[in-house]
Amino acid sequence: MNSSDPFELQKREYKKMVQQVKPKPTVIKNGIMAFLVGGTICAAGQLLMNFFKARELGTQDAGLATAAVLVFLAAFLTGLGIYDEIAKYAGAGTIVPITGFANSMVAPAMEFRSEGMVFGVGARLFTIAGPVLVFGIVTAWLAGLITLVLSL
């Protein structure tokens, strides 16, 4: 039998061990980085919220002001090439916050600037933002419609 061959057995054991161990460290490391960076961006957002609320803005306006500042910073840092440098390590930590939405607009728009202001920058701004808005708006429209139907 093959399994009685100590070499073969070792090989198989080794393969199993590799499979068990290999993907985990990156998954754990990626997860920790995403958690820390994403959490930090949200905490920064909370600081901005507190700042704007202290300026007597209502919750909604403070939220908008916060989003605007975060989007501005993300667009700026993407322009400098810094945001994508952080994203290499932070993964979803830099994608999921609203800053990742801004990054997804600026990065392709910059890259395709050579194709012109209209179909280069103008169109590429919406490479990812377009689908996001389509799915967001259609789902929200449905939610509104269902609310209306249920209230009749």
Binding site: A67, V96, L125, A129, A143, I146, L148
Partner: protein
């Protein structure tokens, strides 16, 4: 509130990272963005997102699920207030400021900066 924002916001990002690392599908950042906004709309419409916003503040509003929440609540509130036209107006009215900020700042950044390499 700061710590809650950090923990909840970090956790939402962690979910995104695990979706990319642990599923067999090829989940790109684009899929994450679309998925989180859509998920945010649905969770919010079912009434489960506002409690998270009340608890974690920016930890719930800064992730893109919060953008979905904004769209959903806009559509739902406007539908209650003005009926069928509200269904069409609500989502984008609520998100108008954020979308305009993203388009204007995004366009200006792409205009001013040159890509590296």
């Amino acid at each position: 509130m700061l710590l809650k924002a950090f923990l909840v916001g970090g956790s939402i990002c962690l979910i995104g990272q695990l979706l990319m690392d642990l599923t067999n599908y090829k989940v790109t950042p684009g899929h994450i963005l679309v998925g989180f906004v859509t998920a945010g709309v649905i969770i919010s419409a079912l009434g489960f997102y506002q409690p998270l916003v009340d608890y974690a503040g920016a930890g719930a509003t800064v992730p893109l699920t919060g953008f979905g929440h904004l769209l959903a609540q806009g559509a739902i509130e406007e539908a209650r207030r003005t009926g069928i036209l509200g269904v069409f107006k609500g989502a984008l009215s609520a998100a108008a400021g954020g979308i305009t900020a993203a388009v204007v700042f995004g366009y200006l950044a792409a205009l001013v900066f040159k890509p590296k390499g």
